[in-house]
């Protein structure tokens, strides 16, 4: 179906669902959360080769910062339109100061479960891609304070888009098989330049987050899926693989953007462990060729996180956690440098109540952005963060 028609049809369905709810035929339940964050200490050092610094009009510099922010407030509206038919919306307010800097509808979809083993969603959906995107994105879903930097700051979390997804579940001897397929609007070119997918410019433009918008210059639909095995041997063990593929700009498969992900999650005996591997493959992108020397570039990397409720403080669980990540982006045919990101974090999460999480985290980040013929631009950052997440 043409993306415009798909979007119109999706919008019509969502409006119909909202009208039904507004007409008083269904009751709407509101829940939500707030995430308050304090940067107790952050020191950042920008350095590198002089030509690379000059290209960004930078000099070698160190900066320190401290601050408090109401990181995000989210309201979840849920309505059960009829048996097995639900409508769900997440309104999230971010960058909150005296005014709200950003309001997002992170998801808004109609979900129908015609049979217990079949389910489909239409609307703005969180993509079934990996584990973190659907199950750990919100601060109340995890004990760690920060999300993996590459996925959150560069790829953009949550990966949610307009389209439809279908899930089939069935039990097997090994565990519960969950198969998801989806069709969505997909990533487009960078908003600043319709001929580039990713730009080697700082700050911000190296991120792909703003490429994923409901309306962009990309008429192609992206397709993908996830195959997972959950409840392995009856325990809280899960493993799966995900795929996303779609052209990022007109021209069919000659400008293909593909992602692949493998994930393993274990929650056994109090230990919670999650690891995800990510592979990106981008064709015909002149934007990042300025960094890696090739318009066909790939990214490979991982993140892992582990936590265990080791202590109790006056009956309140105190959970230490560690996490790390490492990503490398390079040109397929060589010739340029490598974008490298490494991050390490450790901290504690206290659960004073079931719906309150107080977190303390120390993190170290090392990032290198190459520029063809100019050398590397480097960033090192240490941070100590405090946060409180309240769910209601």
């Amino acid at each position: 179906m043409h993306p415009r028609r798909l979007r119109l049809r999706t919008a019509a369905l969502l409006v119909a669902a909202l009208l039904k709810a507004a007409a008083g035929e269904a009751k709407i339940v509101f829940t939500g959360y707030g995430n308050f964050q304090m940067t107790a200490h952050q020191s950042t050092r920008i350095h590198g080769d002089a030509p690379a610094l000059a290209a960004f009009k930078l000099t070698e510099t160190s900066a320190k910062a401290r601050g408090f922010a109401l990181d995000s407030v989210g309201l979840f509206a849920t309505t059960n339109l009829k048996e097995n038919l639900d409508f769900l919306v997440d309104f999230t307010y971010r960058k909150i100061g005296s005014t709200t800097g950003e309001t997002r509808i992170q998801y808004a979809f109609l979900e129908h479960t015609p049979r217990p083993d079949w389910r489909y969603r239409i609307g703005k959906i969180t993509l079934p891609f990996g584990y973190y995107n659907q199950k750990r994105f919100y601060s109340f879903q995890r004990v760690e304070l920060s999300a993996p930097i590459f996925q959150s700051a560069i790829l953009g979390l949550p990966i949610s888009d307009v389209g439809a997804t279908l899930q089939k579940r069935f039990e097997s001897k090994a565990g519960r098989v969950e198969a998801d397929v989806y069709a969505v609007n997909g990533y487009g070119a960078t908003p600043a330049d319709s001929k580039k997918f990713r730009s080697a410019t700082l700050p911000g433009a190296i991120s792909l987050a703003s490429n994923l918008v409901p309306s962009n210059n990309n008429e192609n639909i992206a397709l993908g899926g996830r195959l997972g095995l959950a409840r392995i041997a009856g325990r809280d063990l899960e493993a799966g693989g995900s795929y996303y593929g779609g052209a990022w700009e007109g021209g069919g498969t000659s400008k293909l953007f593909q992602m692949a992900n493998g994930h393993v999650h274990a929650g056994v005996g109090g230990l919670d462990f999650l690891a995800e591997y990510l592979h990106l493959d981008v064709l015909a992108d002149p934007g990042f060729a300025a960094a890696v020397g090739d318009s066909h570039w790939t990214t490979d990397g991982y993140f892992m996180t582990a936590s265990y409720p080791l202590w109790q403080v006056r009956g309140m669980p105190l959970i230490p956690f560690v996490s790390s990540e490492g990503y490398v982006t390079r040109g397929v045919h060589g010739g340029g440098g490598q974008e490298r990101l490494q991050g390490y974090r450790a901290g504690l999460c206290l659960l004073p109540l079931e719906n309150i999480r107080v977190k303390l985290e120390y993190g170290y980040l090392k990032y290198v952005l190459p520029l063809v013929g100019l050398g590397d631009l480097k960033l090192d950052s240490h941070s100590a963060l405090l946060a409180m997440t309240l769910a209601f």
């Binding site: 269904a26 009751k27 509101f30 829940t31 979840f76 639900d86 109340f140």
Partner: protein
């Protein structure tokens, strides 16, 4: 398209049911001790595939606002909602409005919800069994602290206590500011104090004050549930699960058919287990009867 087929499709799309009986949604915590004993007779009473919808939940689900919202939105659209056990009763009575609710084996129920005509159910404790247990250990005056909405329970305790030779000293407590004076008076004038399971008295600062005073005066608290016994109350009772399940199935069947119940709120049927605080019994040098009908909590 034939008219009958068209009508059937329209009715199906609109979710219209021709059955006169209200559809029953049962909510139970996945690991609740009452689950099997209550669900079996309910399933027998509602044999149709669509007549009874059972929704199990885990405590972690209610801490996640997305999953909590999904759960509540389904419950909010129920025609008749049955909450089995304490966690389900607490969730449903705290969050769901405008839906007929029947709770089974709940101990923590606010008096204001108990007074609501859309709420009915069976409390987890058996008044006569608990009074028999109290009568074996103490005599004299029994204090009774209750909140508005608990009048029927208070009447059952009052008459049962008098029948066993107790004199009853009682106070109706409507707000937090009334707690200190009422508790002081009741503890000064009684040998044991019965406290109903209203969160005003059984949780938070009210309960904390009650426990501190009762321990300092060595006056045992007869509580609504094991949660309180683990935290300083002396004794409560747990229901006989099979008898509770059978009674609940009969009541839910009547409600689903639109019939009125003889009593909107009942206490658990006889035959339950008396549960007591082992540390306090040892500290106070009490000798308690053994056997299956008594269980110690540490």
């Amino acid at each position: 398209m034939p008219r009958a087929l068209m009508t059937a499709l329209l009715l199906a799309a609109a979710g219209t049911s021709s059955a006169a009986e209200r559809k029953v949604t049962v909510l139970v915590e996945a690991r609740d001790a009452l689950k099997a004993s209550v669900l079996a007779p309910l399933r027998k009473a509602f044999p149709g595939a669509d007549a009874l919808r059972v929704r199990e939940f885990e405590s972690s689900e209610t801490a996640d606002p997305i999953r909590r919202g999904r759960l509540l939105s389904v419950l909010q659209n129920s025609e008749l909602l049955v909450a089995v056990g304490d966690p389900a009763t607490e969730l449903v009575l705290g969050e769901i409005e405008d839906v007929p609710i029947y709770f089974v084996g709940g101990s923590l129920v606010s008096g204001s919800r108990l007074a609501s005509p859309s709420v009915a159910g069976i409390l987890s404790y058996d008044v006569d069994g608990l009074l028999d247990a109290v009568g074996r250990l103490w005599s004299g005056r029994l204090g009774l602290a209750f909140t508005p909405g608990y009048e029927a329970v208070a009447a059952a305790v009052r008459s049962g206590a008098k029948a066993r030779g107790f004199a009853v000293v009682e106070r109706r407590i409507a707000s937090q500011k009334e707690i200190p004076s009422a508790v002081r008076e009741l503890l000064e004038r009684s040998q044991a104090l019965w406290v109903v399971g209203d969160p005003l008295l059984a949780r938070g600062a009210g309960f904390q004050f009650l426990v501190e005073r009762s321990l300092s005066r060595r006056v045992p608290i007869v509580a609504a549930g094991p949660w309180e016994v683990r935290r300083g109350a002396f004794v409560t009772s747990e229901p006989a699960a099979d008898a509770l399940g059978a009674e609940a199935a009969g009541a839910v069947k009547s409600l689903a058919a639109g019939r009125e119940l003889p009593a909107r709120v009942r206490t658990a049927p006889p035959g339950g287990t008396v549960v007591y605080n082992g540390a306090l019994a040892e500290k106070w040098g009490l000798r308690l009867p053994g056997g299956a009908a008594w269980r110690v909590l540490h």
